[in-house]
């Protein structure tokens, strides 16, 4: 009997912990299916009208989604900006990192370890250090205020190379040597032997790179002056003050691409252990 009570208490604690992590997200989802009037009524606050905890909709409605998709062309424009910035970064970062990580782990070339040391130093450098060199080069290339100023520096970070190298280290050298003796080219070895063994790493890299750049803020507000080129990660907050009635649906729509990418790769991602 006593064991049973302990078990019930433990499960109660577990549910409470999970709720704490999920509440803001569930709250956003629930509020996104309320009519805009219900939102503006609930959250227009003043000293004698506090916002209340409003989780269950009085009336279910897809009005916010309708408004966001069909009545707010600027929302879709900003969403598209986010896609235009993030997708090229993920593609470049992944392809470039696969080749470089393979070279740094399994091939030999002059100054290899010294060069890799640069990557490790760069890995720990915060944006408040790297944005200065980024800016100087972008300005010299005449790319300021274009989306390339956001894409190029973020596509070539040390993160991908360092992450994939962690996975490739565990690929046994014997399999590579055996393939080489059979006459396979280096390119073939990479794609036929190594890549299938580090799928989890590639999935993790794509998901983490996508999420990181889908949330890009600091580069945007310095490198871009034309607010029409802003991605949603910055522009959504200005949306919330001008148009609070639809903000929850906009937030949910903005969440869909990273969620889909995660669900698509979730099995490999969860099995991937660094």
């Amino acid at each position: 009997m006593k064991k049973r009570i302990v078990l019930i208490l433990k499960y109660a604690a577990l549910v409470l912990i999970v709720l704490m992590f999920l509440l803001p997200i569930v709250y956003m989802l629930a509020n996104s299916v309320m009519p805009t009037k219900e939102i503006t009524d609930a959250y227009t606050t003043s000293p004698d009208h506090y916002a209340s905890f409003h989780l269950i909709p009085d009336r279910f409605s897809l009005e916010q989604y309708y408004q966001a998709f069909l009545r707010r062309p600027q929302f879709l424009n900003l969403f598209w900006n986010s896609v235009l910035i993030t997708v090229p970064i993920v593609i470049i970062q992944t392809v470039v990192s696969i080749f470089a990580a393979f070279a740094f782990t399994k091939l030999k070339f002059p100054f290899r370890d010294a060069l890799f040391f640069i990557f490790i130093i760069l890995l720990i450098m915060p944006s408040w250090v790297t944005m200065v060199p980024n800016y100087m080069m972008i300005q010299r290339l005449g790319l300021l205020d274009t989306i390339w100023s956001l894409i190029l520096p973020s596509a070539f970070t040390a993160f991908g190379v360092c992450l994939l190298r962690q996975y490739m280290r565990y690929v046994p050298d014997e399999t590579i040597e055996a393939a080489r003796i059979d006459g396979a080219s280096t390119l073939k070895i990479l794609f036929r032997i190594v890549l299938p063994q580090v799928k989890g790493g590639v999935a993790a890299l794509m998901i983490l790179t996508f999420i990181d750049n889908w949330n890009m803020v600091e580069q945007v507000i310095v490198f871009i002056t034309d607010e029409e080129k802003y991605p949603l990660s910055v522009a959504l907050s200005s949306f919330s003050s001008s148009d609070p009635g639809v903000i929850f649906a906009c937030g949910v729509i903005f969440m869909i691409p990273p969620l889909l990418l995660y669900l698509y790769h979730s099995k490999e991602f969860k099995n991937s252990k660094v």
Partner: protein, 281 residues
């Protein structure tokens, strides 16, 4: 010999795109910023720009707040997930479903969820309405020291998720055979934890700590979306200082700051790596 030079060329060729990107956007312009750091209007001025930087009040304000944030938020974001994953490890089953739920704060974009935080913590928001009903004084979360507390809460909430997953994976790797003999020798659960489990978890902990440090560098995103370009002085971070100098196009100061900060980051990291190496020997 011939084969060797050929593989050397392939290796270099494979690494080349990444190297070009890193040199072009990071290494070469960093050297250019070294030049700017020591000159004013193309004239060598020694450490003048650095002296000016160290006399700037906003630089120290940004440094101070970034340090306060890091010293509180990073340990919390490591210890709380450790406790939660120790708790999760006491369950026999079902936890993999829960641990996939823990990933959601990582996947949901900051901009999406920020409005919920605003509604919860606003002056007349959900939390304050709750406090009022309980007969307590409302709290101004967006002003004064509470502003920093709010940023720390959001950081811990967001980063606990992934760290729980990593800790759980680390705990699962510790075989039962290691713990059982100690238990048979009469060690209690607390002793097993501190003498066996935690030492074995060291590498995982260090890795998670490093990841958390790197993500703490990105806290500016939350601060900016909550407080805008000109925040309360309690949450004025080092990134705000840099951005303000970008807006003034103050290259000498930006370069000096970038150099000083890069050296500081490397120094702090060296200390951590040395501490880790010394204590694991």
């Amino acid at each position: 010999m011939k084969l060797k030079t050929k593989t050397a060329w392939t290796g270099a060729a494979f690494a080349l795109p990444a190297l070009i990107g890193i040199f072009l956007f990071y290494l070469i312009p960093y050297c250019i910023s070294l030049y700017y750091g020591f000159t004013l209007q193309n004239e060598y001025v020694g450490f003048t720009n650095f002296a000016a930087l160290f006399h700037s009040n906003t630089f120290w304000l940004g440094m101070k707040n970034t340090a306060i944030f890091s010293l509180i938020a990073i340990p919390l974001a490591v210890v709380i997930p450790l406790l939660i994953s120790l708790f999760l490890s006491t369950f026999d089953k079902h936890t993999s479903f829960f641990s996939s739920l823990f990933l959601s704060p990582l996947i949901v974009p900051i901009a999406s969820v920020i409005y919920v935080w605003q509604i919860f913590f606003a002056d007349y928001g959900v939390i304050n309405s709750l406090l009022q009903k309980l007969g307590l004084d409302p709290v101004a979360f967006f002003k004064g020291p509470w502003a920093m507390a709010l940023v720390i809460i959001i950081f811990v909430w967001k980063n606990c998720a992934y760290n729980i997953i990593l800790f759980s994976a680390g705990l699962r790797k510790i075989p039962k055979e290691v713990k059982e003999p100690a238990r048979l020798d009469g060690a209690n659960s607390f002793q097993v934890l501190t003498k066996i489990v935690l030492p074995l978890l060291r590498p995982t902990t260090f890795f998670i700590f490093l990841l958390t440090v790197i993500s703490s560098f990105k806290i500016f995103r939350e601060v900016y979306l909550l407080y805008g370009k000109y925040p309360d002085e309690h949450v004025y971070m080092i990134q705000h200082f840099m951005n303000n100098n970008f807006y003034n196009l103050n290259y000498p100061r930006l370069s000096a700051a970038s150099i000083v900060l890069s050296v500081a980051v490397i120094a702090v990291m060296l200390v951590f790596f040395m501490a880790e190496r010394r204590s694991s020997v």
